[in-house]
């Protein structure tokens, strides 16, 4: 086919343009493929981690036995081949079994988990055996046969026990078979109030502790068959969760969680990372699209004369357009192939960087889907993105070739918006595909659309508003300089033509500046500012009279104790003077049972705090009016709620809550919702009262001891257990270190991706600026012919480039704050931070880069003989 051949010839004969175009497309698509591969690996890693944390794909739990009817109903919903297990959990004292007959044996509060032999469905509880060496024994199967226990190290330290010895839980004695080394289900930032001990579920009843009224969590776990639990299909577990929840709609005391919804803060942050990478991928594609479109526009404009010539020698208008169409297809395909090759080369390095975070078992490989998508986008997306440009050709008249003073490339067509529709549809489709949600697709489309409108409007206004500046310079003889005046005049008078450049530069600036802002938002979530005060031990159940002695105890050992937070047990009775028990009417069983279940479901640990701490941020509402409740100024005490707790319970700002604190009703108004920074590891509570309200209520304290070395911690636990036997001590050092290490890796990944995006954006920007500068070379030649000096030409060209770049970058920067805010609200839990520095640097870089490239190309144009430049233009 002649047009294909001509397109090919054109590519071969214009190697610089072809290479430039391919590189631009490759840059964007490399970003897309790399980020998609990473996103997929992170999804896979997250999926695996979330299953390990829950220990199943889906779990149903309750503080009561799950009834036969409920079990039958749930079991009927899961596919054939699903593995099912049960578990019971409660908190109880565990006593050492010693030879000594003097007094009561030492005992510690422990979190007991009675599990089935198949535990855990996902992940592995690593432990050391009686010999102190890592063991691979099927411990949970052995627990089915014998009364064996697997305990956290704290139990051994605090009761001075060794594996092989025995402990007594209720009426049953268990032999300690080993020490837990790592437990995937504790990969959480929220810690249990006591160290964990595993026993066989068969032996749970033998303890005598499982009785009516005991606060025991019963959990029924489901592990879906392999084809359902593929990492790529978390939606199956979510769909099943929805079905379970539909059944349990009237049974609010049943808790249904799938592995995706049950993941804790770690899961939340990994989900954020996935969303963030999705955004980066889209930004890379859009930037590539912008750059590609700009190049196509410039290329087609330069080729319109050729197309007219072709028509004059007998080519049909439509056929002539095929040449450019084929060129776009061939170059786009080349770009996609290059992108796949570059991504294949980059991924091993990225895998190395992210190995500690993703784990060595996780593959970071190019996804088949994204390669196909990249090839389609490169091959078909390129000509589709160029459709608005092709529409220009409709207005072309080959007859202008006979007119010396008319340029066939200067044509106008108002139907470009119609031609842009397929590109808009593609962006929407990609955004929805990346985020797996049409809502996110619409959000991204709306953001981009609004940004373009704002840029077009502000560009028109700003560039036209240069008139007074131009007049002022003209009047001021001291500043009067014709190159500057000419730059201003040209910018003002060609604002229509410059608007495309303005919008393009501005959109690049907006997207590029938004990325580091989002990065700053996420890294502020991940990075702890209180690293020096990281906790090593959490101390629960500190009695008021123990507060001072405990502080003295710690200080005498040169250990720093953080603030002790009061913990007051209370029941939520009324919301806005409406008894909330009414909503629990459907709980099966007697009225007493209902009442009991309601109590369990509505009992919270309240705390008292005057101001938000460094690890907290206001998500909605305002800070407490005063640190201490002032009856003369405030009608009700003020309450602060943790944001997601409020979302879960449906409590809103200004709601009046009434708590039953040991029989005393205490009312308060919700004045703020606060976000708790995940990586702070400081004690935090769902409900916090103003001071001076429940200060006298019966309370315990939660304390922290800053991290110390292993030997000190071990010794400290033993001494604490001896001196303060009622205090429950949980060693959180290992968990904190693990989570911090993960969060630092995630922060590194986020920063690396932001840099990648910045580099890609700057690459695209280079392409755009080069094209713009080339367009100015004709004028440069004329000015040179007219006798302008090197400096004057420079001032004129740079003046225009700098004016457009500055205003476009400034508008883009302003828009980027809006983009970052919208994305942080809709995707990142409203964790917006004003990251001015992070945003301004890329915007300044854009201006600097534009000026630098313009300088370089102008220099080249000035070195070229004017005659050659003018001839090239003809």
């Amino acid at each position: 086919m002649i047009w294909r051949r001509l397109a090919w010839r054109e590519i071969i004969n214009t190697p610089k343009f072809s290479l430039f175009f391919i590189l631009n497309i490759a840059l964007g698509l490399t970003g897309f493929i790399t980020v998609t591969a990473l996103k997929s690996s992170i999804d896979q890693s997250l999926s695996g981690k979330s299953r390990e944390i829950l220990g199943a794909d889906i779990a149903v739990s309750a503080f009561r036995p799950i009834t036969f009817d409920e079990i039958t109903a749930f079991d009927a919903l899961v596919p054939r081949g699903t593995r099912i297990a049960e578990e019971s959990g409660w908190v109880s004292m565990v006593a050492a079994v010693t030879e000594s007959s003097h007094g009561a044996p030492p005992a510690r509060l422990m979190e007991i988990r009675a599990v089935d032999p198949t535990f855990p469905f996902y992940g592995e509880v690593a432990f050391t055996g009686e010999d102190g060496k890592p063991s691979t024994d099927p411990i949970f199967r052995q627990m089915e046969v014998e009364p064996l226990a697997l305990a956290a190290p704290e139990l051994y330290f605090q009761l001075d026990l060794k594996p092989g010895q025995s402990v007594k839980i209720g009426d049953q004695v268990f032999r300690l078979r080993g020490t837990i080394a790592s437990d995937p289900s504790t990969s959480s930032a929220s810690f249990s109030i006591a160290p964990r001990i595993y026993i066989g579920r068969k032996w749970a009843h033998q303890t005598g502790l499982i009785q009516l009224g005991s606060r025991i969590t019963r959990t029924r776990q489901y592990a879906l068959p392999a084809q359902f639990s593929e990492a790529q299909a978390p939606s199956d577990a979510e769909a099943l969760e929805a079905k379970f929840k539909a059944f349990a709609k009237t049974r609010s005391d049943l808790r249904i969680r799938s592995h995706t919804s049950a993941t804790d803060e770690l899961g939340r942050i990994l989900k954020f990372l996935g969303d963030y990478l999705g955004i980066i991928a889209l930004v890379a594609i859009i930037l590539s699209g912008i750059g590609g479109n700009f190049l196509i526009l410039a290329h087609v404009r330069s080729k319109i004369r050729d197309l007219a010539i072709l028509q004059s020698i007998g080519a049909r208008p439509s056929s002539a357009r095929w040449i450019i169409g084929w060129q776009m297809i061939l170059l786009g395909f080349g770009g996609a192939i290059c992108a796949v090759a570059i991504a294949a080369m980059l991924l091993p390095a990225i895998r190395e960087i992210l190995a500690p975070f993703l784990g060595t078992g996780i593959k970071v490989s190019i996804q088949k889907d994204s390669v196909i998508m990249a090839l389609i986008m490169g091959t078909l997306g390129t000509p589709i993105a160029g459709l608005p440009v092709f529409m220009h050709l409709d207005g072309m008249s080959a007859a202008t070739l006979f007119r010396e003073h008319e340029d066939p490339s200067k044509i106008k067509n108002s139907r470009w918006l119609l031609a842009a529709a397929p590109s808009i549809a593609i962006i929407f489709g990609l955004a929805s595909w990346q985020a797996r949600s049409p809502k996110a697709g619409i959000l991204f489309l709306v953001i981009t659309g609004i940004s373009i409108l704002i840029l077009a409007a502000s560009g028109t206004i700003l560039l036209r508003a240069l008139a007074p500046v131009s007049r002022m310079i003209k009047q001021q003889t001291r500043w009067r300089s014709w190159p500057l005046l000419m730059a201003l005049r040209h910018t003002r008078r060609s604002s229509q033509n410059l608007i495309v450049s303005f919008v393009t530069l501005g959109l690049c600036a907006a997207l590029i500046s938004a990325v580091p802002q989002i990065q700053a938002i996420l890294t502020s979530e991940l990075t702890s500012s209180e690293k020096t005060a990281l906790p090593g031990l959490f101390l629960f159940d500190i009695q008021p009279e123990q507060e001072a002695p405990l502080r003295n105890f710690l200080e005498s050992r040169n250990l720093s104790s953080g603030s002790f937070s009061p913990l007051i047990r209370a029941r939520l009775d009324r919301i806005n003077d409406k008894g909330i028990g009414e909503t629990f009417d459907n709980i099966p069983g007697t009225r007493e049972r209902q009442s009991e279940e309601q109590f369990k479901n509505r009992t919270y640990n309240l705390s008292v705090r005057g101001r938000l701490t460094g690890s907290e941020a206001l998500a909605a509402g305002r800070e407490f009016q005063t640190v201490t409740f002032d009856r003369t100024k405030q009608d009700l005490p003020e309450i602060s709620l943790e944001k997601r707790f409020a979302e879960r319970t449906g409590i809103r700002l200004d709601d009046v809550l009434e708590f039953n604190v040991q029989g005393v009703p205490v009312k308060g108004r919700v004045v703020n919702l606060r976000r708790v920074r995940w990586a702070s590891f400081q004690p935090n509570f769902f409900v916090q009262f103003q001071k001076g309200v429940i200060d006298d209520a019966p309370r315990t304290y939660l304390g922290t001891v800053t991290e110390t070395d292993f030997d000190t911690t071990q010794k400290l636990q033993r001494e604490l257990a001896q001196s303060f036997s009622n205090i429950s001590i949980v060693d959180v050092k290992a968990s904190v270190a693990r989570i911090l290490s993960i969060s630092e890796q995630v922060a590194l990944a986020i920063t690396a991706m932001a840099m990648l995006c910045l580099v890609a954006g700057m690459g695209v920007l280079t392409a755009i600026t080069l094209q713009q500068s080339r367009a100015r070379s004709y004028e440069t030649a004329i000015l040179k012919v007219l006798g302008a000096s090197f400096r004057e030409v420079y001032v004129r060209v740079l003046g225009e480039a700098a004016i457009v770049a500055f205003f476009a970058a400034a508008t883009g920067l302003a828009i980027s704050f809006g983009i970052a805010w919208v994305l942080s609200v809709f995707l990142f839990d409203g964790a917006w931070v004003f990251a001015a520095k992070a945003a301004v640097i890329p915007a300044l870089l854009i201006v600097a880069l534009t000026i630098f490239i313009t300088m370089a190309t102008s220099r080249m144009a000035l070195r070229t003989k004017a005659r050659n430049l003018l001839q090239a233009e003809l």
């Binding site: 051949r5 001509l6 050729d306 004059s312 208008p317 007859a399 070739l401 006979f402 010396e404």
Partner: protein, 228 residues
């Protein structure tokens, strides 16, 4: 098809106007003109008189507001763009003042292009022979940027004549060339046209060049006036 006695080009009552700055400017009005086969006709006239507009209409690159244009016995006035393209490919050759060669194609590729568009299988051989005929056989692989003005125009002539068109439209073929080169190029043009019996419509300011044609017309007030 035409015989030597019937007109190859027939322009009847053609009118064309443009809108400039919201005002309608009449360029051609009630224009009539005929050319017989193998005739060479010169059209002169001051700048802005409508010479280029007339050439555009004859080439089928533009359409008249009124009147009819018949070329080689075919009324091209109401032809579709596709048919016009086919018509041009077979019947009309055009030589521009500014050469209008495709800058990314070699001389040979430029010349062979009309044949390729027409679906000719041996386009390259025919193009090379045509290029040799204009004395540029040795420059076939050169790009337009590597050719002088005279050479470029010779390539343009070769391209225009490679399909052996019945009609050749030439717009100031020597306008961008120095006198000597211009003369050489026009000699070549007349030589080839006469050899192949092509009807030539030559638009020029150059009276000497115009005198070399069989007939001369001056375009004035939108109409053609025969110059004796």
């Amino acid at each position: 098809m035409s015989n030597p006695q019937s007109p190859v080009i027939s322009v009847a009552k053609v009118g064309k106007s443009y809108s400039r700055s919201g005002q309608k400017v009449s360029v051609l009005a009630d224009l009539n003109f005929e050319a017989l086969s193998a005739q060479t006709i010169a059209i002169t006239g001051p700048s802005g008189s409508g010479k280029s507009t007339l050439l555009g209409l004859l080439a089928g690159l533009d359409q008249p507001d009124q009147g009819t244009i018949t070329m080689d016995g075919i009324d091209i006035t109401h032809m579709s763009q596709a048919d016009l393209a086919l018509f041009r490919a077979k019947t009309v050759g055009i030589v521009f003042q500014q050469f209008h060669l495709l800058q990314t194609l070699t001389a040979l590729e430029n010349v062979s292009l009309p044949l390729e568009i027409a679906g000719n299988k041996s386009a390259e051989a025919a193009a090379l022979s045509r290029l040799e005929a204009v004395g540029l056989g040795s420059r076939s692989s050169h790009l337009p940027s590597q050719l002088s003005g005279g050479e470029s125009q010779r390539v343009a002539i070769a391209r225009a004549l490679v399909v052996r068109p019945k009609i050749l439209l030439a717009d100031e073929p020597s306008g961008n060339l120095d006198t000597k080169t211009g003369e050489r190029v026009t000699d070549l043009l007349f030589d080839l046209v006469r050899k192949e019996g092509t009807t030539l419509i030559l638009v020029t300011h150059n009276e000497e060049l115009a005198k070399r044609c069989d007939h001369r017309y001056q375009l004035r007030d939108g109409q053609l006036h025969r110059v004796p």
